[in-house]
């Protein structure tokens, strides 16, 4: 059969079990794109645990949705991308964490083990024809016997341990902010209040607007207390949200100034 040259190049995206000549699996890249189009979520380690924030979908017509999910007493999760795929993974994570309790009697199921299990489900979908990769990135955060852990899984099936990270739309912008923060403080120096502030600010930066607190969900696990998931208008978080908003405004200004500078420099060069 004859294919014109462009057609040949794109035919490699027909299957998730096929490499293209450059060594990429295009369906996985597309799945990653789907994940990058989801509403942003952020994960951040601090000295006493881990925080996950996310923007939930809100409208007058919608009943309140969730963005941050509890997987076990000591594990929380969030995802960006197709929510059906995400819920499928979260439910599997819950079952698996519960099975770790049953089989090993673990009081705090190991976050890495659960994350690996989730990743292996995503990986399976890149190995067999007839399956499609899952269009979500997922963050698993928790505290286990080895301390606070934060793990990111993507449609390719990798599991990476991060200090802080953002997934979903404009993740890069949020991560740039977190990079600045973590250059100055290591997670061991971040207090809970600071971490909540920065994690909310990272979401606002990725969103580009200061979403109302009811739309921001904050989940956290500390060393000695089980997972808690609240919205940013909760009394314990509301004040921190206001500070996060300030940080966001300042950052926005800084970025726009530096962007202008870059533009004017470019003009000078030209």
């Amino acid at each position: 059969m004859f294919f014109p040259p462009e057609r040949m190049a794109t035919a490699y995206d027909r299957s998730a079990t096929l490499f293209d000549p450059r060594g990429r699996i295009l369906q996985v890249l597309y799945a990653r794109k789907a994940a990058e189009a989801g509403t942003p979520s952020c994960g951040l380690l601090f000295n006493d645990g881990v925080i996950i924030t996310g923007k939930r979908k809100m409208s007058v017509l919608l009943m309140p949705n969730r963005k941050v999910f509890q997987v076990d007493d000591n594990i929380i999760a969030t995802f960006a991308g197709y929510s059906s795929d995400g819920m499928f993974l979260v439910e599997n994570a819950r079952e698996y964490a519960a099975s770790l309790r049953f089989v090993y009697g673990s009081e705090k199921p190991d976050v890495y083990v659960v994350a690996r299990y989730i990743s292996s489900i995503m990986h399976q979908a890149t190995l067999y024809a007839g399956l499609r990769p899952l269009g979500v990135s997922i963050i698993l955060g928790g505290v286990d016997i080895s301390g606070p852990r934060l793990l990111f899984s993507d449609p390719g099936g990798s599991t990476v341990s991060w200090r802080a990270g953002v997934i979903g739309l404009n993740a890069k912008k949020g991560e740039k902010f977190l990079e600045e923060i973590l250059k100055m403080n290591s997670p061991e120096q971040l207090t809970f209040d600071d971490a909540v502030k920065y994690a909310i600010a990272a979401i606002l930066i990725a969103l580009g607007t200061a979403s109302p607190p009811i739309e921001i969900e904050v989940g956290y696990v500390k060393r000695d207390s089980p997972a808690t998931i609240v919205t940013a208008d909760h009394p314990s978080i509301a004040k921190l949200y206001e500070e996060a908003k300030k940080i966001f405004e300042e950052w926005k200004e800084r970025i726009s100034v530096s962007e202008e500078k870059e533009e004017s420099e470019e003009e000078e060069h030209s």
């Binding site: 999910f69 076990d72 819950r94 079952e95 519960a98 049953f102």
Partner: protein, 222 residues
């Protein structure tokens, strides 16, 4: 049926556990002796297990079977809670457990246990008795184990619908005491758990139990 008698004998060996409904919630009590024939295998066995913040169960019969089922039920309750976003009701958990026990009973490899599953949920306080075949029976008060005939007599005599917390504790302690004094396979002290709507699962400390024993003019457990 020989099978039935054998089963009955196995079940009846060891343990007295009691449960009753009172004004604010439910209360569960159990002795702490684990026996293996005429040997006391343990003097500090735990026979009341927490399933959720508002549901607990007592175990009697084969310890291994019971512990596996407790662990299994804990995981089911946990995933239920997370997926459905509410606590399971007592009857939901009993149904679940009953299905498992009945299916193994029908395959002739039964779990050799009697359970009391008790707790407070949206529909009020519940005490449910569950046997090795999977039958379930909701009760106001119940006892299981080898000491149950003795304990049941005391409960039958002392139970009223409007027991206060202190009266309920006293009644449970009295029932357990009678069973411990007359049943060879029960003894070594007691464990008490109270579940109320306000405070959820509470395991009474030995000090608290001793305080109530003194209040109830019961001097010693033998």
């Amino acid at each position: 049926m020989a099978f039935d008698n054998e089963m009955k004998n196995k079940l009846i060996h060891g343990t007295t556990t009691v449960g009753l409904v009172f004004k604010e919630g439910v209360i569960l009590g159990a002795d702490r002796r684990a026996s293996a024939g005429y040997l006391i295998a343990s003097k500090r066995a735990v026979k009341i297990h927490k399933i959720t913040n508002y549901i607990a169960m007592t175990i009697s019969g084969a310890v291994a079977d019971a512990q596996v089922l407790v662990r299994w039920l804990q995981t089911r309750a946990q995933t239920f809670k997370l997926n459905v976003e509410r606590d399971p009701t007592v009857l939901e958990l009993v149904n679940l457990l009953s299905n498992v026990m009945h299916s193994y009973f029908k395959r002739l490899i039964p779990f050799v246990n009697h359970f009391i599953v008790a707790g407070v949920d949206a529909t009020g306080p519940h005490i449910v008795f569950l046997d090795h075949a999977g039958s379930m029976q909701e009760e106001k008060f119940i006892a299981t184990g080898s000491g149950s005939p003795i304990a049941l007599g005391v409960l039958e005599d002392g139970f009223r619908d409007d027991l206060t917390r202190d009266d309920a504790i006293k009644l449970v302690l009295t029932a357990l005491r009678s069973a411990i004094l007359r049943d060879v396979f029960s003894g070594d002290g007691v464990d008490l758990v109270i579940i109320s709507r306000e405070e959820g699962f509470q395991r009474l400390s030995p000090d608290e139990i001793n305080k109530h024993i003194k209040l109830s003019y019961i001097e010693t457990y033998t």
